[in-house]
Symmetry: C2
Subunit: 438 residues, 2 copies
């Protein structure tokens, strides 16, 4: 006899948690599909040399090996994100794809890293990506952000903010105020959420940023986001720095197109402090926060890079990608008590199994309910007392119980009992689905 | 630069293949949900001691290890089916589940076995299971078969047959004709698809089956399925063997209830030759074949076992489970040329990007289409010539192209071009979604 022990940092969902996770997954998927992102579902297993191509930390990677396999098999591992496998896929299948290539992938990834709440060693990401062949217009960024914002809105958990920045905007500004070591200064700015400003000024001083520049940087990264978008555009429009102007233009273009696509202007924040991944990204970047949980984690992010597959090919595949950190969204909302774990089964109606004799009639009702897309079941055993059958429905939080015995069959009705209000009513048989679809 | 090589026996889908696979996955999932099977999504990773508990072949199992991890971590591996993890889950979370527990799980499993067409080292299974606590009525078998049959029907690939057998029926029959070594005879019968009958008779002779018994066995396993169900029931009803009668009764009950649930009687075949897993299963078993491909593989199967978690607990969890071998269904249908790989994107409508000036108007149309659940996109770049934009739609087999330039905006219409028929027509703006939903 083997005692089944849990595995550290791998977690099982209970049915009521799984139903919530699935609702999130399906809502996101539906929105990605409406925007024409085609599904891909590459293997969870990749060659280790592919996984480490971008310089990923081996320590995070799970290797995979046959327990009793031949030693000449390739070195394999589990994906730690969905982007490296995408880059590999695009290069391998380039000739069979049409570009710009828009794909979605909602799947689990595996990281042997130090676990955090909502980010265990196996967690869900929900990615969309647009890959160009040679070039990729700025509108691709708009598609990514609008699709993600629309998906988050339909998840209906409350307000969120998409904080947008642009590498050219930040870099151009730093150029404009005379910073020499731009990459290093951005690396310091990137620490702003973990390190207090008085510490950061010391670090900036170490790389020859003077006091006046420090003040301008402080103002830029912390105060700009309080201005209206119009004020931001006006403030920077007249500065003579080509890179900065290009950045402002890209922000303005993206912002306006997002409004055209119906994204609420309150949702969009131009925020020069967004600097995650700016050592890598080359244009627009964004991070998304739930209102009231800004100090927790970003629930969605990503950006643009001019060459997705640079480690695999000399060809240029400019790329813009976005991800909803699905497992994280759920963890944040759980901490905010915003998730409802009441539903323990998809079943909407339990048909009481009255007797063997009435079963044939009741199976006809069951068939109709299922055909009308009402998830339903009949209690498995007619020998069991009605009270116990009700208890089964109650334990699983099934909202309706349907009773149809000899008497009801003769009168061509059913008795429908609402297990929340405990009300019951008689309904003509032909009206059951109408009643439930209300 | 790293050359991305394929991994032997792991296969990437192209978009047009993925869309077909997803349609299958979603259709099956919808049917499982309509029958009230609650989703579970356990980790792909389990402890090796759990994976090997039922005596699985190590050689098939993929182990998982941190590339640079601590040596004191548990021995982990990838699941090779969805049933062993289920048994583990039920024992671990028993107190938080309501029984009978109905669950669905559609996911990939990993086997380092010799690969077959349609069964690579990573493949999809689509399982439903009902687990009792102590006892589980026969109607559970009906639920599994009817739900699977309904799902296969909605996949709409053509005719299929569910071949049902019952261990008690077969065992009782062998008892009745005086067979002593019943398990051994069943093991021989189980080879019938791979070994010719003249070889099988020699094997049966080796375990003291006499000529008359051999003839009766031949008749039973090969001829019974040509009788009508009614004839089968009548033929065996009068035989005085309790086990056989119980088997006949269970087959009859299951058959009749399946008809009550609207399963076509032509779909159901009582077939005493179905013997896969009968060393393990204890009651009803079934295998499903596509008409015209009976010699290929079973596309769905499973059965009942009286103690799912016997390796983990002394408690009794009777279980009935069924699986659609999703990757196999697709492989068989592909060989029969029954799959349509035309669709390369979910997009139904490509809006031509006429000019920067008209873009705002066209983004409004795009927003409306998406809100009406019509997957759609706008070509990313207004600088690109219209012919190239059409080529993009054509390459991706997008069915409709929508054109709305200055003139159309003034007339409050759009031009809708059907890329299959090459017909085009002018449509008032407010009628676009009606036109497309036809």
């Amino acid at each position: 006899m083997i005692q089944p022990l849990p595995i550290s940092w791998f977690v099982d969902n209970l049915p009521e948690q799984q139903i919530v996770e699935d609702f999130f997954k399906e809502t996101i998927q539906k929105n990605y599909t409406m925007s024409g992102f085609t599904p891909l579902d590459t293997s969870a297993i990749e060659r280790v040399e592919i996984l480490t191509s971008k310089g990923a930390d081996d320590n995070e990677i799970y290797g995979v090996h046959r327990l009793n396999g031949e030693s000449n098999e390739a070195n394999l591992g589990l994906r730690f994100d969905l982007t490296v496998p995408l880059a590999r896929y695009v290069v391998q299948h380039e000739g069979k794809l049409s570009f710009p290539f828009k794909r979605q992938h909602i799947a689990k990834v595996y990281r042997g890293e130090r676990p955090q709440k909502g980010r265990y060693r196996e967690f869900y990401q929900a990615d969309i990506d647009i890959i160009g062949n040679g070039k990729l217009p700025l509108f691709a960024d708009v598609e990514i952000i609008s699709t993600i914002a629309q998906a988050l809105k339909q998840l209906d958990f409350g307000d969120f903010r998409v904080h947008m920045n642009n590498k050219k905007f930040l870099t151009g500004f730093l150029e404009h105020i005379g910073i020499q070591k731009i990459q290093e200064v951005i690396a310091v700015i990137d620490k702003k959420d973990k390190v207090r400003w008085d510490k950061l000024t010391i670090m900036l001083g170490d790389i020859w940023v003077d006091t006046q520049q420090k003040e301008k940087i402080y103002d830029f990264i912390f105060s700009i986001k309080n201005l209206s978008t119009q004020e931001i555009f006006e403030k920077f429009w007249s500065i003579e720095n080509d890179l900065l102007l290009e950045g402002v233009w890209e922000l303005k273009y993206t912002y306006e197109k997002l409004l055209d696509l119906g994204i609420n202007n309150e949702t969009l924040v131009i925020d020069p402090s967004i600097s995650r991944g700016l050592n890598y990204y080359t244009g627009m970047v964004f991070e998304t926060f739930i209102v009231g949980a800004e100090k927790m984690w970003s629930i969605s992010s990503w950006g643009r890079y001019e060459n997705l597959a640079e480690h695999f090919t000399k060809k240029s595949f400019p790329w813009v990608g976005g991800s909803i950190w699905l497992s994280r969204v759920l963890a944040v909302l759980d901490q905010l008590w915003k998730l409802d774990f009441n539903k323990k089964t998809p079943t909407q109606v339990l048909i009481i199994n009255m007797s063997e004799k009435d079963m044939s009639h009741n199976l006809g009702i069951l068939k109709t309910l299922r055909e009308m897309n009402i998830p339903s079941e009949i209690y498995l055993d007619p020998e069991v007392k009605m009270a116990k059958q009700f208890k089964y429905a109650d334990n699983k939080n099934i909202p309706f119980v349907l009773i149809c015995g000899e008497e009801e069959i003769q009168k061509d009705i059913v008795v429908m009992k609402n297990l929340t209000s405990w009300e019951q009513q008689e309904i003509p048989q032909e009206n059951i689905t109408n009643f439930l679809q209300k």
